[in-house]
Symmetry: C2
Subunit: 335 residues, 2 copies
DNA sequence: TCAATGGAGTAATACGTATTAGTACGGTGG
DNA sequence: CCACCGTACTAATACGTATTACTCCATTGA
């Protein structure tokens, strides 16, 4: 009861291996075949319990029904909330399309593990930062890839599906402006990921539009303390806008600092977050916006699938999804 | 800048493809080679940017550092808490061992998708119920598999890594007995998964040991209401023991019924759960035990890896991990 | 009767790597 | 001068499927 190959079917059905391949492959090339043989082959395959060897098919043709998922950080980190919904979306859509998933993990060990992605028909990439060189190699080789999250590197040639942080962030600022806030402190991550840059762009544009006075702090959160908070308030700031990303570091530090300073939200100061803080926290719902992570996952899979399929023309290589606003309870109206 | 094959390296280095394969493969078969050629080949490979084709290597050798993960329910369900930690453990251990993961999803579509698992070197299975026939086929073919969760089917021949629900459940009952409870209602899932059976075995044994009066309800939760709760209390029951599984249905329904009846826990009745309810719920910590899900994932990968590697003798095909007790705050002492 | 046509299937080969049996060659010892 | 040996490689082949060019045979038409 070992492996059953096409050759075995061929022997049983009294035809050649080639014929078996043609029949089982659905005769996509239009070989002339009598219905009788077709049925004989199918019946033999059924009886022997034939299972195509995916490796061989892949070697011979170049289609696998396997989509890769490559995460630069471990895919299942402790900060579950960020990646989990994305992966859930990826899995759901892949299952719907009948594709399986290969998860590649960037082990610190071998940096060339990224090359293994070529085992799949195409690959999704996921992470705040991206190894540009390796990606460039894959692109140059014509390997289908899609990054989850907007990517500006390589002159924007990296196909991606992202969230429209620019508009969403602008909308948050506009909301604050409408609530009467005119002095705002904006806390952002220190590194230059596209998602952070996008948020900043939206924030600055909307602030300028609203004639709002905006001060920016770049921080990883470690230098935030109650004194910082008091300093801002003394400065006349009536609202804080905080970036929320994968790590959640800045937002977390801000909350701690606010708590430490004994400042009430939104009584003493309004608080908005550019994103959605991890759930499970007690207290009021923070105003901000939702990142449609599950939808991102689904859209990315669809895009990748269309890149893998040759037909149907060139699909647009980029896609931005809208982030629905979260009203929340932490924006107060000021005179 | 297309693909670089061993043949290309061979041409440049002035040797044969076979030599290239030997050199790049680390010469595991002990072919005599001069150091000079070795270096020439390595240098050429480096210069041309050679990337081994994993598909071809797999076809030729039959080992590809891929471990499958097959989930009978979608791996990323809405009830995140159950599967997520397991997968996190699986991923962490796989990364540590330098293996990649293929996620196979049981799409409702083709039941023979399970056969695709053979693309991997071995496969992990995960789910409350298991398609025994397909598993039997794989086993018979000598394909390495490990089930996460104890499995008694096929005469116990399915290698697995599970949690010791028997002992953990018994310990919970013993705890109740020590707190003076002698009339207990036990609510369990209606279906016959091994994990439910194990819990029941532990519960019954410990209850008998303690001379406790035990009443069992099999339910999917839909028929639980405040009236049920009042009925039990009128009956003299002082503690409820509820099973917590993948679905969480029974435990959830119980909580709702308790709330609806206006019964206070543990004031009016003590509550213990055989497992750990999903986090994020407010209120007191429920007494019960922890399921070491992450550890299960890691242990399963280790076991599978050892089944895939031929050497080092036959490893024990089963392994049960201990569930650490959770003291909680919902067991009161009674006279 | 011969060429043309069409139907039914197959031989040959490619895909890229791993492995094993074997070859070629320059020395050594007798 | 021959048998023998060790060194340094390579030729050949396997892995299982997909594809394409080709063969073989029976009709048909002129």
């Amino acid at each position: 009861m070992g492996k059953v190959r096409q050759a075995d079917i061929a022997r049983v059905a009294g035809v050649s291996q080639a014929t078996v391949s043609v029949v089982l492959g659905g005769n996509r090339t239009g070989v002339r075949l009598s219905e009788r043989t077709r049925l004989r082959v199918l019946e033999a395959a059924e009886r022997l319990g034939y299972v195509p060897d995916p490796v061989s098919s892949r070697l011979a043709s170049t289609r696998n029904n396997l989509l890769g998922v490559y995460t630069f950080t471990p895919a299942f980190p402790d900060i579950a909330d960020v990646y989990y919904p994305i992966l859930a979306g990826v899995e759901a859509e892949a299952a719907a399309l009948g594709k399986d998933l290969i998860m590649f993990t960037a082990s610190s060990a071998a940096p060339d593990r990224i090359r293994r992605t070529r085992l799949a028909d195409g690959c999704l990439f996921l992470g705040r930062h991206v190894p540009v060189d390796a990606i460039a190699d894959l692109l140059a080789a014509g390997f289908p890839i899609v990054h989850i999250g907007r990517r500006t590197e390589l002159g924007g040639r990296i196909p991606h599906v992202g969230a429209d942080y620019v508009s969403a962030s602008a909308e948050v600022i506009t909301r604050l402006a409408r609530a009467g806030h005119s002095r705002v402190r904006y806390l952002r991550e220190p590194d230059d990921a596209p998602s952070s840059g996008d948020r900043e762009r939206g924030v600055r544009a909307a602030a300028a539009d609203a004639g709002m006075s905006l001060a920016v702090t770049r921080t990883d959160g470690s230098d935030l303390d109650p004194a910082s908070v008091r300093g801002w308030l003394d400065d006349g700031v009536t609202a804080l806008v905080v970036e929320e990303t994968d790590t959640g570091a800045v937002f977390h530090a801000t909350r701690r600092a606010l708590g430490g300073a004994g400042v009430s939200v939104p009584g003493d100061v309004s608080l908005a977050v550019l994103g959605r803080p991890p759930g499970g926290t007690a207290g009021p719902v923070i105003s901000g916006f939702e990142v449609p992570r599950r939808a991102l996952g689904r859209a990315a899979v669809r895009l990748l699938a269309s890149l893998v399929e040759p037909g149907s023309g060139e699909p647009p290589p980029h896609r931005l999804l809208t982030c629905p606003p979260v009203a929340g309870e932490t924006i107060a109206t000021v005179a």
